[in-house]
């Protein structure tokens, strides 16, 4: 145990908010040493921002905790010449740089790729931005809902008769995951070539790539597909049905006659299931509004877990629309080790979602909570960069290490 896939790989993380930090956290889950660069002067929004304003407490944000597990933190003011120089020295002993600052900021700080490649010729640097680092919108800024809008996902999400939906902050995580993939690809390529490289990732393009098949409809038929709730182009029933309980729902999807027969049987084969209009896949699809009503008249009598068990036993794809509460105690998730507990000095012991992979040789593990701001200044500046205690004290005094 404790073999880590990325052991010995060091990442300098200039990420903030969600997309960048999520990407670097994945690398940390695989065992890379990820050093997050922060400063009290401009703390990561995720430490302090809430809908109603900014907090002055940097250490009790559970959202920050969630996407900075396994990382180290140094506090360093990059807007000072000495701070920028220290960051470059850290890069010179690292493998990877990840950033999602506003476009152009890294260059201004003397931390652009052209600066960093001078101190570490084989550095791999990823810039993650809303619309990409080139093109007329390269300076435009974006948060996750902008990626899902621009990338075409929002238009495809929601009810057919209502407005588009921008999805959740998971769109940040999606962009971050693509960033982690690109970095891992570059790392493997570096093993072959000995060369690093610069990677320009557009979050909007990644979200678009994840609905690429929908885009093909325009490419092939000059048609822009639109949102349609839970419905499917050919399958029916294909929806969420209300169950017994407080806002409880089960998703049911039927692809063929065999599954339809399974569903009918699970419902006790009521007469309406024998109507000829429901006997073919196309008939069911054409009559799905009525079908949905009839199914819901049945599901409303049962709990979501009971329906899942019963329908799955009959070979029907049925899963509850799980709430967060369900997932943290779901027997399957728990059996898979999908929920773990991590101790944090301020937040206490918290349940959190484990790395999603089971790997037979290099199992990813969470070994430490999200770092306190500047928690690892001594390790990074003294042990890695060789500064004396006196030099570090001086930098703290000058609010460069701040």
């Amino acid at each position: 145990m404790n073999q880590s896939a990325l052991k010995g790989i060091r990442v300098v993380d200039f990420g903030h908010v969600l997309a960048g930090p999520y990407g670097s956290m994945l690398l940390a889950e695989f065992g890379a040493e990820v050093i997050k660069i922060e400063t009290r002067k401009r703390p990561d929004e995720q430490r302090v921002q809430h809908g109603a304003g900014a907090s002055s407490d940097y250490e009790s944000s559970s959202n920050f905790f969630e996407i900075n597990l396994n990382k180290l933190s140094v506090s360093l003011d990059l807007s000072t010449a000495k701070g920028s120089e220290l960051a470059r020295r850290l890069v010179s002993v690292s493998d990877i740089v990840l950033e999602n600052m506003r476009p152009g900021v890294m260059d201004k700080l003397g931390l652009g790729y052209k600066d960093l490649v001078k101190v570490k010729p084989d550095i791999i640097m990823l810039s993650l931005s809303g619309y990409g680092g080139t093109g007329p919108y390269s300076r435009y800024t974006a948060y996750a809902p902008c990626f899902s809008c621009f990338g075409g996902q929002a238009h495809l999400t929601g009810y057919a008769d209502a407005e588009p939906n921008t999805l959740t902050s998971s769109c940040d995580s999606r962009a971050g995951t693509a960033g982690a993939f690109a970095i891992l690809m570059a790392l493997n390529l570096r093993e072959q070539t000995g060369k690093g490289q610069y990677i320009d990732l557009s979050s909007s393009e990644q979200l678009n790539a994840q609905v690429g098949d929908q885009m093909m409809d325009y490419s092939m038929n000059h048609r822009s597909p639109s949102r349609d709730g839970n419905h499917d182009a050919i399958m029916a029933p294909h929806n969420c049905y209300r169950c017994k309980g407080n806002d409880r729902w089960i998703s049911i999807a039927v692809a063929n006659d065999e599954e339809w027969e399974g569903l009918a049987k699970a419902m006790g084969s009521p007469d309406w299931t024998k109507e000829p209009v429901f006997s073919t896949a196309y008939g069911r699809w054409q009559n799905q509004t009525r079908l949905d009503q009839l199914i819901q008249e049945w599901t409303i009598n049962f709990g979501h877990y009971a329906l899942m068990e019963r329908l799955q036993k009959h070979g029907v794809a049925a899963m509850p629309s799980f709430k967060a509460k369900d997932l943290f105690s779901d027997p399957h998730i728990v059996a898979r080790g999908g929920v773990i507990e991590i101790e944090h000095p301020v937040l206490g012991t918290r349940k959190t979602i484990a790395p999603p992979w089971k790997m037979s040789e290099t199992q990813p593990e969470i070994t430490r909570a999200a770092p306190l701001l500047g928690e690892h200044n001594s390790y990074v500046f003294q042990d890695l960069l060789g500064l004396s205690q006196q030099e570090l004290d001086q930098l703290i005094e000058e609010k460069i290490v701040y």
Partner: protein
């Protein structure tokens, strides 16, 4: 190809539909040689899903299939036959990575589970993708994209900004959750490859699509740990962002998450007086009067087109974006300037524009992608040229339904 800047990797893909094929395509994009195995006769399920070119259902013109399988070689092979299993083992013996998405017990039934394959090829990385993972109470449960999305906790929160609980929660767009599973598998596979090439061994990777999606949604799901209440689809009517409809009927998302974002938006609106007065002059006041604020934002936006709002707000350095349709996305000057869309010529579907790669690598020229394979297109190349079966035996295998 001996271009050193391309990934040297041999991949066998035994996958169907979206998740597994996306995972393998992500590797093919960087030069990995992917041999895709399809069931003789029927092929990948994606071949039977639209969109189809000119709405003419042809297994060679499914947009889903074409998009997810470009850059690969395609062969047919039935792994449920003894001959098929023997051939499969020969392919795996020579591969670096196997990506498979069969139901958890199927590979074992076929004698092709990880221990059996490891015995043939100890450095093999085997990546198994399934809805709920290889073990646990739900491992043999059936799940389509709809069920996956809802089982991950992601569906329950959509559509965000619902005003009440009257309507059902909905899935995410297209088959996005399947792509999430594929991307998650690709990330783990690349980490395993790095470890292998640094002196490690092969290994088995068990990817649960459900857990991959939960992990993506962690920033929302953790709200339950904070408050004991599950976040839901009505919980987002708060001061983070606001969707507004513009003069041309198109929608734009405005970001309101911080004072800094508000300042840019405020200036873009021409610094209206109401924005300087209570309650709209503080983040807390705007949050408490979000409904009223949204009305004012909608009223302002309705005077301009979505593109105008986008440019005005971005000019003042605040985040915002139009909610593009496929057509609007294809027509965006940004997409054109970045050459994101790539043209691929396919023997049946012809020359079409495909969504390309979201990342640009400085040291790797964007490769023109090989079109998706026709069903069994590379049987001869793979079976005869590589595995050295004679053409006669190929005919026999075909007649026996093995290939």
């Amino acid at each position: 190809m001996t271009d050193n800047s391309l990934l040297k990797l041999k991949v066998i893909e035994l996958c169907s539909f979206a998740a597994g094929p996306y995972c393998a395509r992500l590797l093919a994009d960087f030069g990995a040689e992917v041999i895709k195995i399809e069931q003789p006769g029927s092929g990948d399920e994606a071949r039977r899903r639209g969109p189809f070119l000119h709405d003419d259902p042809d297994p060679e013109t499914s947009g889903l299939y074409l998009y997810l399988n470009s850059g690969k070689l395609g062969i047919t092979l039935d792994i449920h036959t003894a001959d098929g299993q023997a051939i499969f083992k020969r392919l795996v013996a020579d591969a670096d990575v196997l990506i498979e998405d069969r139901p958890p017990d199927e590979m074992k039934k076929c004698g092709l589970d990880y221990p059996s394959l490891k015995a043939i090829n100890p450095s093999l990385i085997m990546t198994s993708i399934s809805p709920f993972g290889q073990d646990g109470p739900y491992s043999d449960f059936k799940s389509y994209h709809l069920n996956l999305y809802h089982s991950s906790g992601a569906g329950y929160m959509l559509p965000m900004n619902s005003t009440n609980f009257d309507r059902e929660p909905v899935r995410g767009p297209g088959f996005a959750g399947e792509y999430d599973g594929g991307m998650s598998a690709a990330v783990a596979t690349m980490s395993a490859l790095f470890w292998l090439r640094r002196g490690g061994t092969g290994q088995h990777i068990d990817v649960s699509k459900q857990q991959s999606m939960m992990h993506l949604e962690r920033s929302q799901l953790r709200r339950f740990i904070d408050t004991g209440k599950s976040p839901n689809r009505t919980g987002m009517g708060r001061l983070l962002e606001s969707l507004v409809q513009c003069k041309d009927g198109n929608y734009v998302i405005l970001i309101l998450s911080s004072e800094k974002q508000w300042q840019g938006l405020f200036q873009a609106m021409g610094s209206p007086e109401w924005g300087t007065q209570k309650p709209f002059n503080t983040q807390a006041g705007r949050s408490a009067h979000y409904g009223e604020l949204r009305e004012r934002l909608c009223e302002w936006a309705s005077q301009y087109t979505a593109q105008e709002v986008f440019e005005k707000v971005q000019y003042y350095k605040s985040a915002c974006a139009p909610a593009y349709t496929a057509e609007q996305f294809f027509d965006s000057p940004q997409i054109a300037a970045r050459k994101y869309l790539v043209e691929i010529d396919h023997p049946v579907a012809g020359n079409l524009k495909y969504p390309g790669l979201p990342y640009r690598f400085s040291d790797m020229p964007q490769q023109p992608r090989r079109p998706a394979p026709l069903l069994g297109q590379h049987n001869q190349e793979v079976f005869c040229s590589r595995l050295e079966y004679s053409k006669e035996s190929l005919v026999k295998l075909k007649q026996a339904g093995v290939i």
